[in-house]
């Protein structure tokens, strides 16, 4: 039987996971835009645009990994 504290903790964890999920969805959406930028830069032979898109994608990927690892650390499986 779970007590009141356990229920609150579970609710907090569920809320945290929801926020993390939203953040990751936003990051993935931004990465799709970054990939589109890279493709357009590639098509137009614009080196700066290609590398800007790749850099943005790398940065977003790093943020996603950090968020995911922090979430794993904080929340037991």
């Amino acid at each position: 039987m779970m007590n009141q504290t356990d229920v609150q903790t579970l609710q907090q964890r569920a809320g945290q996971l929801r926020k993390v999920a939203i953040a990751l969805v936003v990051i993935v959406a931004a990465q799709i835009v970054a990939l589109e930028v890279v493709l357009r830069g590639w098509q137009g032979r614009e080196t700066v645009i290609v590398f800007a898109g790749i850099g943005a994608s790398a940065l977003l990927c790093a943020i996603a990994v950090i968020i995911f690892l922090l979430t794993r650390k904080r929340l037991p499986r």
Partner: protein, 172 residues
């Protein structure tokens, strides 16, 4: 079916759903956990980043390799106001050598910067024409004169040595 048989049938199949594969109360319906969803998103993020890496690799590789020096034709083979196709820098890269009426030489990549159709030399208008969308490029500079392309044709650097024209690089 009689009333008695119907009752018998109901008794023989007490809790069996009508469509077992679409059961509403089965635990099998729960196919994704929160953790699994987050892992999926992370994997998607990494995959999207990895999808951009080949573009960087190709850009960097292209610069490192440099361009070969390739003989593309003899001076006598291309009259004033004429042109001839050739391949540069690789065998699969079409290009066009143009001998301008004023005697100068120009060469451009042979694919349109819009949708990569092969361009041809039109001696009447002295322009490079893309037949797909009726685009035109200036023979002197490769600039877009007409049509949907947003970028000029990449120019191939030439070197005339004796009676031979060499392609030595691409201006980016």
């Amino acid at each position: 079916m009689s009333e008695a048989q119907r009752e018998k049938g109901e008794q023989s199949l007490p809790d069996e759903p009508l469509l077992p594969e679409f059961s509403l109360d089965s635990l099998d319906d729960v196919v994704a956990s929160r953790r699994g969803f987050l892992t999926f998103l992370l994997a998607g993020s990494v995959a999207l980043f990895l999808a951009t890496v080949p573009f960087a690799a190709r850009f960097l590789g292209h610069r490192k390799e440099g361009f070969p020096k390739v003989a593309v034709g003899r001076v006598a083979d291309v009259p004033y106001g004429g042109a001839r196709p050739f391949a540069y820098p690789g065998k699969d890269n079409t290009a066009l050598l143009v001998h301008l009426p004023n005697g100068e030489w120009r060469a451009y990549e042979g694919t349109c910067t819009h949708l990569s159709c092969v361009v041809y030399w039109d001696p009447a208008s002295e322009r490079l024409i893309c037949p797909c969308h009726n685009a035109a490029f200036a023979a002197e500079t490769g600039a877009v004169l007409m049509g949907p392309p947003r970028y000029p044709l990449p120019r191939i650097e030439l070197s005339v040595e004796g009676d031979t024209v060499y392609a030595v690089g691409i201006k980016t």
